[in-house]
Symmetry: C2
Subunit: 106 residues, 2 copies
Amino acid sequence: MRRDIFHAIADPTRRAIIALIALQAMTPNALADNFQTTRQAVSKHLRVLTECELVQQEQLGREIYYSLRVDRLQEIDHWLSQYKQLWETRFTQLDSVLATLKHQNP
Amino acid sequence: MRRDIFHAIADPTRRAIIALIALQAMTPNALADNFQTTRQAVSKHLRVLTECELVQQEQLGREIYYSLRVDRLQEIDHWLSQYKQLWETRFTQLDSVLATLKHQNP
DNA sequence: TATATTTGCAACCAATCGGTTTCATACTCC
DNA sequence: GGAGTATGAAACCGATTGGTTGCAAATATA
């Protein structure tokens, strides 16, 4: 099973879940109210997000509140960073940037 | 068919292709040499990357050189940016950040 | 205790995915 | 023109995905 963070954010429903719980912790039932799917489907998405440690749970009575582990999104930012200099740099500096990137990825 | 950029980068082989053609334009055959799959499989990945405009082609004789459209990766960076302030901000400022984020996503 | 609520998990299903094999097309070189 | 090379497209296949329904466990409430 491929359960990396890139796979996790590939699904639009999961990105919507991420957007919701970034604002405040929510229960599976409360989350499911925002989608046209069943609660169980949302639960399966939460399982995927949990398995790649993108969310954390806090149990309060019989309710489980899911919230976003924002720090985990840095992994994507880190992956992006190697290309970011490519689009942020002017053409005249492109050669040196390419050399740097080549050095970082032998 | 879900052909957005998040789906495109979800596959590890496609991310490897992106890393390769970020350095220099490459033909499908040259790309396939770097993987333990067939050229046709690489070609299918290139089709996905093309359909979401992550790569561009340049035909030279019977060879087609694929290169990365780095600017397209900004879409992911833009998606990340709404969460970036969450992990870059200290806890004491968190409330105002959440308010801002809530305003951006009504 | 009995009932209702919240949740996770298993079984199943159609659709999609990544891969292969095969074939057709287009270009290069002799 | 003919042989070889580079490529894309189609057909097929097993595995995975996202979804559903049904059920069991745990908690709250009467």
